[in-house]
Amino acid sequence: MTVIDEGVLKLDPEEARRVRQERFERIGRWVLPLAIMILAIWLWDRICVWNGIPQYILPRPGVVLSTLYNDAGLLFSALLVTLRITFLSLLLAVVGGVGLAVLFAQSKWVEMSFFPFAIVLQVTPIVAIFPLINIYVDNQTTKLLLCAWIVAFFPILSNTTLGLNSVDRNLRDLFKLNGATRWQQLRYLRLPAAMPYFLGGLKIAGGLSLIGAVVAEFVAGATGQSSGLASRIIEAGYRLNAPRLFAALFLISLTGILIFLVLSLISHLILRRWHESALKQER
């Protein structure tokens, strides 16, 4: 690998154009969406003012922000409740998804027998299953967890199963030649090979577990002091408290983005040395 010192190197017009374009793209990636967002918020604010829209229908962005500040105690305690369900269900989704995938990987028969049921669980809308869960489960937290888990575990299960089955044939032969046990094959070959697939599933599951948690709160209609952001949104909706509604919505989106970014970072850190997806373009 050669290190190119741009200051010293004399670039021909074509290469110079390429360097310039790369620099623009690097800056544009951040600046453009930010500019669009600022523009949209400004437009939103102007529309409210120009049309004299009342606050209970569409609040101005500044009002949403001040509501976020004034109602912080209420909203953030609700956020914590939702986050607890989100992360617990994501944790259970990882344990359950990977556990089931490893079980499926032990034998084609197990996979063939049980995988269809996982699909059934996945394709049935959680809102439709919830009334049943409501009958069978008493504990509120357990209810919500179960809901969020059903939504989140499938991408992890299906991706990890695919990864465990995508091992290079020659590598499998190599392990066989060296008398590897089943456990060794799983530990040193199949699990590491499945890692990129698993991390892809984890990124999807992270978002889904938040969605699962919020949807579960909605259908559970949980209220009271231990209620999450969804209940705050329902409450605010009943009271036509649009600023708080927007503030809660903003918090949920922000949480989703943060979860995605954190999981992307974890994925990048784990894969950066060896996997194609994490490599920088080198030409």
Binding site: D168, N170, L171, D173, L174, F175, K176, L177, N178, G179, A180, Q184, Y188, L189, P192, M195, R273, W274, H275, L279
Partner: protein, 274 residues
């Protein structure tokens, strides 16, 4: 070159038999006869090349020897009875087949690790092997940071780290450029002369098989079978001087003729442009 000539080769005669394939055949479930009635004796210390066009069953033969596949008919007779412990076989695939997430050290350590040998205990053997393939200093690199030739060196080091008696190689250098291939040919010969293990080397390159081996077994396709055998009696060590010598050129021509005869023997029955 004929079989009688092989019998005269003194070096091969003295060495005890390591493995005899007797009437070995392999028919796949899709009806393809990959190998038919193969008789082949491999002696201790042989550098034996299986040379042939694609589809002649040379890779299948190698997999049978490795125990990765079982013959449909015939027997593999290890030292005239019983089966060889698989631990004594090293296998080098056509691709380097390394664990992409593991360092060079960890890749070479793998066969020992699978035998329950700790990193610390394996370190001297791994370090020594890396030195033998000229990769000292690359212990911590991951495969994608290496060139194709270096990856293949790691693969050879991994196959040799258990000190196998037999090294099976399945067209290991086919994907490399010529300069790298020559270098690896030389290094492999050096390794073989020092340790005197047995090599079964699958290739479709006449030049490579003649340069490396003391015996070239020419195979033909449809069905895959042994067509003829040549003894390459040129003395070791063989180096760049041998590669450009008239003797080498003459031997290559001989081998090439046998290979063409083998291919024609098939083409007589089937016309498919191979």
């Amino acid at each position: 070159m004929t079989r009688e000539k092989v019998a005269q080769a003194p070096a091969s005669d003295v060495a005890p038999t390591l493995l005899a394939l007797r009437g070995v055949g392999k028919v796949f479930s899709n009806g393809v006869t990959a190998l038919s009635d193969v008789d082949l004796t491999i002696r201790e210390g042989d550098f034996l090349s299986l040379l042939g066009p694609s589809g002649c069953g040379k890779s299948t033969a190698l997999r049978l020897i490795a125990g990765l596949s079982t013959p449909t008919s015939g027997v593999l007779d290890w030292r005239g009875g019983g089966s060889l412990d698989r631990a004594n076989i090293g296998f080098v695939f056509q691709e380097p087949t390394l664990l992409p997430w593991a360092s060079v050290f960890d890749n070479v350590w793998l066969p020992l690790r699978l035998k329950g040998i700790s990193r610390a205990k394996a370190a001297p053997a791994v370090k020594e092997m890396l030195e033998r393939v000229h990769l000292t200093g690359f212990e911590d690199a991951v495969p994608r940071e290496l060139s194709g030739g270096m990856k293949m060196r790691v693969s050879i080091a991994r196959a040799m780290v258990t000190k196998p008696r037999v090294l099976l190689m399945d067209e290991p250098f086919a994907a490399l450029d010529e300069i790298t291939r020559f270098k690896l040919n030389n290094d492999l010969l050096e390794l073989w002369q020092d340790e005197r293990f047995t090599v079964v080397f699958v290739t479709h390159s006449v030049f490579e098989s003649v340069f490396l081996s003391n015996r070239v077994v020419v195979m033909a396709a449809r069905p895959g079978r042994v067509f003829d055998e040549l003894a390459i009696e040129a003395a070791y060590p063989r180096d760049e001087a041998f590669r450009t010598s008239p003797d080498y050129a003459a031997l290559c021509r001989q081998a090439s003729d046998v290979l063409v005869n083998g291919i024609n023997s098939t083409a007589g029955a089937h016309h498919d442009g191979h």
